[in-house]
Symmetry: C2
Subunit: 205 residues, 2 copies
DNA sequence: CAAAAGATTGGACTAAAGTCTTATCTTTGT
DNA sequence: ACAAAGATAAGACTTTAGTCCAATCTTTTG
């Protein structure tokens, strides 16, 4: 599913830095796409494949930290590796608290960067895997009618059909119908499977 | 269960820093215990209540980062807030990667420290809650006989009694006996509950 | 308005799981 | 050696859940 070559996005206002990073990273089995501003990166239509972001902190326009913040609120989970020439501790701590994979200072060791890239890509792959599983399950939940969903929600709490029936003031017969439909639509192989899917997406209502 | 007043451990080789931190933190509703070396802290018999650790990076003997490492391998999850006068970015990043709650540089803002303490205590409370739940469940798993545990493991995969019976080459009757015992010993109110407990502790064998 | 979708329920079973009781046969610790 | 613990299993039911088939009744929507 994600067998594509990972792509590394580099955002640095210094074109020569972009160029040398591109050379270094391409020598591994990665694709590289460089941008000289956060704005340019945001405009870019990122394809759906494993990736990570190498980001300069200090840039005219949107700074690295600001871009990180922007991506966070946009629900984008792309792993970020910061690189900076003139950072301070407070910056690095802020970046790490917000989930950055690493924060390197120039001059950095090439191996440290490559290690960080590998870690970031691994993280991205597993995050994507997780997200795609969740969205698949959510799609199934969305296909349930409201009643089916209500019954589903109580079934996974461990309630008996008769208890669910009493709760909704309907017959046990009807509960069985909704329950069977829910099992079908959720593609649940067993009750255990249904429970795990419910916990994964967090059934509310 | 954890309604006790949280205790803040302060480890700093500068006794005057310990003293002023103690004054500041005591003014909140926290107890404080100070140590002038990592060794002294390690010898201290910590009581079982919400706590966190405020740690100086640079200390003679065991450094702050070394103590963090030591606690990690000892499986101690006490949240750590680092304070340093002469730290660098690399140190702060290493500390944050290993899960530090915050990394403050002197002179720091008192409010920042208090915020970090609150966050650390919250984290400790929820970690303890989680750990005590898990160990309670693990205790129940440990009370299962080996056969009960094997049957339990397959039950929570969603297998039918007859399938489990075939797997172990025993009768469905016997599976029912082990299954019923497992439900009892695990205090499972339902299959859904059993599945969740299994996932929480991660049934291996 | 008419068709489609959804909610409801009954009948008639089948299958799966749980509840008792009773009873071997081993293994294990003292 | 002997009691205790654990694994095995059968008989006899009861309770739950699942399966088809059929049939209202309401709401939504083209």
């Amino acid at each position: 599913m994600f067998e594509l070559t990972p792509i590394i996005y580099v955002v640095d206002d210094d074109a020569s830095v972009c160029k040398s990073l591109k050379r270094l990273i391409t020598s591994m089995d990665f694709h590289v796409e460089t941008f000289i501003s956060a704005q340019e990166f945001l405009r870019f239509d990122r394809s759906d494949r494993p990736c990570c972001l190498i980001l300069d902190i200090r840039m005219p326009g949107i700074s690295g930290l600001a871009l990180q913040e922007e991506l966070t609120v946009a629900n984008c989970t792309i792993p970020i590796i910061f690189i900076t020439g003139h950072g301070d501790i407070s910056m690095s701590v802020r970046a790490m608290k917000k989930g950055a994979v690493d924060f390197l200072t120039k001059p950095y060791d090439d191996q440290d960067l490559l290690d960080a890239i590998h870690k970031a890509i691994e993280q991205d792959i597993s995050t994507r895997q997780e997200q795609s599983e969740i969205s698949e399950i959510q799609k199934r939940v969305d296909s349930l009618t409201s009643r089916e969903c209500e019954v589903f929600a109580l079934v996974v709490t461990g309630m008996l059909n008769k208890q669910i029936a009493y709760t909704f003031k309907i017959s046990e017969k009807t509960v069985k119908v909704h329950r069977a439909r829910a099992m079908q639509k959720m593609h649940a192989k067993s009750l255990a499977h249904l429970v795990r899917m419910a916990d994964k997406v967090g059934i509310e209502k």
